[in-house]
Amino acid sequence: MKKRVRPSVIFIYIVLIFWGLTTVYPFIWVLLNSFRKKGLILSDSFSIPAGKAFTLENYALAGERADFKNAYLNSFIISGSVTIGVMLLAGLAAYGMARYRFRGRNLLYSLTMAGMMIPVFSTIIPVFRLEVMMRIAGTGNRWLSLLATILPQVAGNLCFAMVILMNFIRSVPIELEESAFMDGASVFQIFFRIIIPTAKSSFATVAIFSFLWSYNDLFTQSFFLRYPRDRAITGLLNEISSQAGVNYGLMAAAVVLVVIPVLVVYMFLQKNIMRGLTAGAVKG
């Protein structure tokens, strides 16, 4: 039995619940006020909006003023592609790096480690220029703009993903691969039929942090997604926050519309999400 700190247990729970409230209450406050009639937010924001104070206006307005459906679609295209791209490129490279012995391997390893330290601030300007030259960025074409966002985001997650997958593949006993090889499997078959299934949990980790990182990123997106129909969720929110003026109900509704789907996914996948996001610290 663990018995370490013991001032009164009640005190411990009070502290823990207090922090829990600071986390939960702001969301509840925003949720309540998203259903409150215009004007009442300012005078009476703590009561439950019932009867006359209750309204769905804010949501109707949010739906009318901002194209959430389109922004969600863009977000999923971007983050989905980033996730697939990262898993594929990182998986192949990690396998090669973990299993083969070759000249220059240490150099590539050092490059990967260094790559993790490069912040997006320091690459974005040349990347923008490069993509303008390749006619991907700044063309006004929606799909190209999405692609222009996807590519640098893949690069931003790739090194980290490679390190996690490399560490995992290295710990897999090689016997499995050898027996498959005896049965006549090629290295590519080994990769797809043995490595990927065995490293499933590491791939899940990589997928989760790539997806969330990309989904939540505002910096890269704001460089490449300039037109309203290109906008992904974070860009849309940024737009609302700068244009809604004093329409606080609209802002509250917008926050709720973005938080709810994430909350639902979080409820189902929280264990994997925690593992995914803390993978770098605990070492995969």
């Binding site: 700190v5 990967t112 690459t123």
Partner: protein, 310 residues
Amino acid sequence: MQPTSTIYKKKAPLLVFLIPAFAFLGVYLFYPFIQNVINTFLNIGGLGRSADGANTPFYMNYAELLRDPKLRTALKNTLLLTLCTVVFQVGIALVLALLVDSIHRGARIFRTIYFFPIVISATALGLMFNLIFLYKGGMVNQMLFSLGKLHTETRASGRMVVDWIDWKDKDHFMTTMFLPVIWQYVGFYFVILMTGLSNISEDVFESASLDGAGGWQKVRYITLPLLRNTLCTCLVLAVTGALKVFDLPWVMFGAGMPEDRGWLTGTYMYDQTFNKANIDYGSTIAVLIVVLGVVLSNVSKALFRQTDDY
């Protein structure tokens, strides 16, 4: 290291494994990184345009870094933010982790709740905190009002005037900017520290109890030393994380509000590049951010040096 298996003697497939990723990294990470350093010496007229020759003198942007008062503000704020994140984020997370570790019921619920803000985009949180810190009718002001903490005055006409606090003015903006950033990531370090705590063997505590160690003594002499490596990781992550902060302050404060006091290195770099079209100067700030990151993460690693001996 494992000896090379016979499967991996033939090197040809290796090209297929390595070339896609490393070619991609070359084009999208390493080349831009180097080009960005070169850009700091060039004169670039607009985002996406090529350079119109070199700057005269070539180190112009670096001289500007030293002169620019807004950059000094940004740097000061960022360093302060880094310090606050290290102290409060990791500090609060440590206290919470030790407390949760000592209880028997509800640990999972606390974990779920504390971690939740991390999955929400900072943009949404920024919008939420804009509402919470609203001048008139924001959650914080209304709470303070109902607690009677705000100065009120009754006019001759009988109308009551409340002295609402402007949370974004020059006296309060630091709190308003730092609190959400710190608040969001406490759960992250909490989960990492919980993992670290669960790795400490029970036997150590039992023998300590037999030796008559009390609760606080066990924390001080057993838990904290054994948690040292995990704490180091958290501190280094907190330092490097604080340097990357952009979204939340950008949504809440935009371009350096109030009165150019609210800049961070990230938001200032974005503003110079995107809104002021000072491309080569923006690149220079980015180089500064990289240097800062390398220096600070090495300093913090040296300060809280990871040890393997326990």
